[in-house]
């Protein structure tokens, strides 16, 4: 816990959630095999944001290069860890959905994808991050000692993010 965590612009996360909602909604409505292809694509994006470098993902790049310049600098930055966990949760749901769809359980598969869509919509529309809340609850339960505050107001150094 001594190394400072990566900080991200929370508006970028919300923008990604909006794009995720669109992709998931289109996937759920689409017929097979477009549906599975779109879900697989979203799974890859989730995986990248969860395990590799989030800022290189397509949604993040779109935000950084197209949206962010029009918005001005962020008022605050957020710790990257809870959203990364949320992406892992999203990935799990989409993988389960794909597994169900590919083994012939179309209705169940679509419903499971629907759960991921609800989470993405809550984030996009209301700024609510269910995965983040779960991460915090988990930390509360397993935490053994004091944890450093890593949150701080945006400084000029981070404008390049």
């Amino acid at each position: 816990m001594s190394a400072p965590a990566a900080l991200v612009d929370p508006r970028g996360l919300r923008f990604s959630a909006a794009l995720t909602s669109i992709v998931l909604a289109v996937a759920i409505i689409a017929p097979s095999p477009q549906r599975e292809i779109l879900l697989a694509l979203q799974a890859v994006i989730f995986a990248q944001a969860a395990f590799a470098s989030p800022q290189n993902g397509p949604y993040a790049r779109l935000f950084i290069h197209v949206v962010s310049p029009r918005l001005g600098p962020p008022r605050e930055l957020e710790d990257a860890r809870p959203p990364r966990f949320a992406q892992q949760v999203g990935l799990s749901f989409v993988l389960v959905s794909l597994a169900l769809l590919l083994t012939g359980f179309a209705t169940a598969g679509v419903i499971v994808a629907g759960f991921a869509l609800v989470a993405a919509l809550l984030n996009a529309l209301f700024g609510l991050c269910l995965g983040c809340e779960a991460y915090l609850l988990g930390r509360r339960v397993t935490s053994k000692g004091p944890i450093q505050r890593t949150h701080r107001p945006a400084s000029p150094i981070h404008e390049s993010l």
Partner: protein
């Protein structure tokens, strides 16, 4: 086009909107506490207010916490006898468990003795939320 797919998306939209709105409505609600719970200055690592105290529980990755603090702290600074204390939940886990703090931000209102008279979670992002807290604190200041 998948019929079940359309239905699922429609249901998802409705569910997300309902959940989101419900969260917005219950946030900031001040609930009166039935059982008596007393917090000491030692518990929170700061002096309690002479007449009343507003205690906020925050965590590290929490923008609503900062927004709430930005509203409560300046207001409390201008009220005589009222103290504002921001408590880091993760380094006060005993207190968090004792008070059943489930999420952050959670705001508790204490009287002069440190007795918890009311509390709510979700924070103060809008003026009505702040007014609710002000209304609850007002009688304690007399």
């Amino acid at each position: 086009m998948s019929d079940i797919g359309l239905l699922v998306v429609a249901v998802c939209l409705v569910v997300a909107v309902v959940l989101g709105l419900a969260h917005r409505l219950t946030r900031g609600r001040i609930r009166s506490r039935g059982e008596e719970t007393v917090i000491s200055g030692e518990d929170v690592g700061a002096r309690l207010g002479e007449r009343a105290t507003v205690v906020q529980f925050s965590t590290a990755f929490c923008s609503p916490c900062r927004a709430t603090r930005a509203r409560l702290e300046p207001w409390a600074a201008g009220v005589e006898g009222l103290a504002y204390i921001d408590v880091d939940a993760e380094s006060h886990l005993d207190l968090v468990r004792r008070l059943n703090v489930m999420r952050t931000p959670t705001v508790l209102i204490l009287d002069a003795r440190g007795r918890v008279v009311a509390g709510g979670s979700g924070g103060v992002a809008h003026r009505e939320d702040l007014r609710r807290i002000q209304d609850t604190v007002a009688p304690l200041l007399r």
